[in-house]
Amino acid sequence: MLKKMLAQLGIEEQRVRLDWVSASEGDRFASIVNEMTEQVRALGPMSRDNGGKNG
């Protein structure tokens, strides 16, 4: 639902990820973190302004 709402607000779906990793799966944890980091890095910084007269 958060993803659906963020899409309405113009935030890319790839910026949010919910995953489940057991405490014994250290490698999997590291690889997911790395994947996510790369994915967000590829998207670049999230341009954001605070609204205003001219958007």
């Binding site: 639902m1 709402m5 607000l9 935030i11 609204g51 205003g52």
Partner: protein, 320 residues
């Protein structure tokens, strides 16, 4: 004691806030005893130039309702700020953007297109859009400029107090009138409402917060006295400031969130999504998909009154 000077103004608003002031009924006479109303466009014939002619800080209190989206509203916000000792953001629009802030899900161009070209009731073959300046034989006509986004009053000028509500309730208005009469206003920056959430003030029975289906208000008739959220209605009580007297939930209508986020919550919509997601019993991907479908318009539901004041403030545009 000299009478207080009181001003009331409506910016981007529906007029309901002004009506709420009149809803104090005979107490309006107390207000008239206490204060001279020096500016109130809905009720009195004072013009902008009358306000412009006043010395700075000569108005004691200004109750400003409505959001700011045009050059005219911005001008009046700045003008009334300069002329007033105490400026109150009156109502949900002035405090958080209110319902009009949902327009921040669209750009100004999209709104113009929809309102003046697309809408089925239009007859506009030349696709004429409102212009800030138009030449006619008699001279130049001007209109205020529409801004790209809806702003709260505090995003334009500093504000002393916030009175939320769509509209603020009579009890809250009287509380402020009494505070003015006895010169006992709270410290600047205060939100004049409760510091608790609506849930904490709601008298409905709360038992087991687990839901398996979300209903829209027209789909079921809720059982009185039982928590509306537990009955599957999206009630915004968990992340909405109390102080309204729980008017809606008392008549079987779920809270829509007009009092804005409670103290310490920076983003009402995010808090509400998290509250709803945490009680929905979703064990499979199908459950999750069903829940997502049941909430038809999450941004419009969870940010119904507060998009201008949220962390994102508006729909983010892809600039690439």
């Amino acid at each position: 004691m000299a009478k207080l000077k009181l001003a009331l103004y409506w910016a981007g608003a529906c007029g309901g806030c002004d009506v709420a002031v009149l809803d104090i009924n005979e107490k309006i006479l107390d207000v008239a005893n206490l204060a001279d109303i020096v500016f109130w466009p809905i009720a009195l014939d004072f013009k902008y130039h009358h306000v412009e002619a006043m010395p700075d800080k000569s108005i004691d209190v200004c109750l400003f309702n409505g959001m700011v989206r045009s050059s005219e509203q911005e001008h009046l916000a700045k003008l009334l700020r300069a002329k007033s000792k105490v400026l109150v953001a009156f109502g949900s629009c002035a405090c958080f953007g209110g319902i009009p802030a949902l327009a921040n899900l669209y750009t100004r161009a999209e709104i113009m297109e929809r309102a003046y070209i697309e809408a089925p009731s239009n007859d506009n073959p030349n696709k004429t859009l409102p212009q800030t300046k138009t030449q006619v034989p008699e001279g130049e006509l001007t209109l205020p400029e529409l801004f790209e986004t809806v702003l709260t009053l505090a995003q334009v000028v500093p504000v002393e107090y916030f009175m939320p509500g769509c509209p603020p309730t009579v009890d809250l208005i009287l509380k402020v009138v009494n505070a003015l009469a006895t010169n006992s206003l709270p410290p600047a920056g205060a939100v004049i409402a409760s510091n608790k959430t609506l849930c904490e003030e709601c008298e409905r029975k709360k038992e087991d917060k687990k839901i398996t289906k979300i209903y829209r208000t027209h789909q079921i008739i809720p059982v009185p006295e039982k928590c509306l959220l537990e009955q599957g209605l999206l009630c915004m009580g968990p992340a909405t400031r109390g102080g309204c007297g729980a008017l809606c939930v008392k008549v079987n209508i779920p809270c829509r969130g007009c009092f804005g986020p409670p103290a310490g919550v920076p983003d009402q919509g995010a808090k509400l999504v998290s509250a709803v997601a945490s009680i929905y019993q979703a064990n499979t991907d199908e459950d999750i998909a069903r829940m997502v479908n049941e909430v038809v318009d999450p941004a419009g539901t969870f940010y119904r009154f507060g998009l201008s004041n949220s962390m994102l403030k508006k729909k983010r545009l892809q600039r690439r």
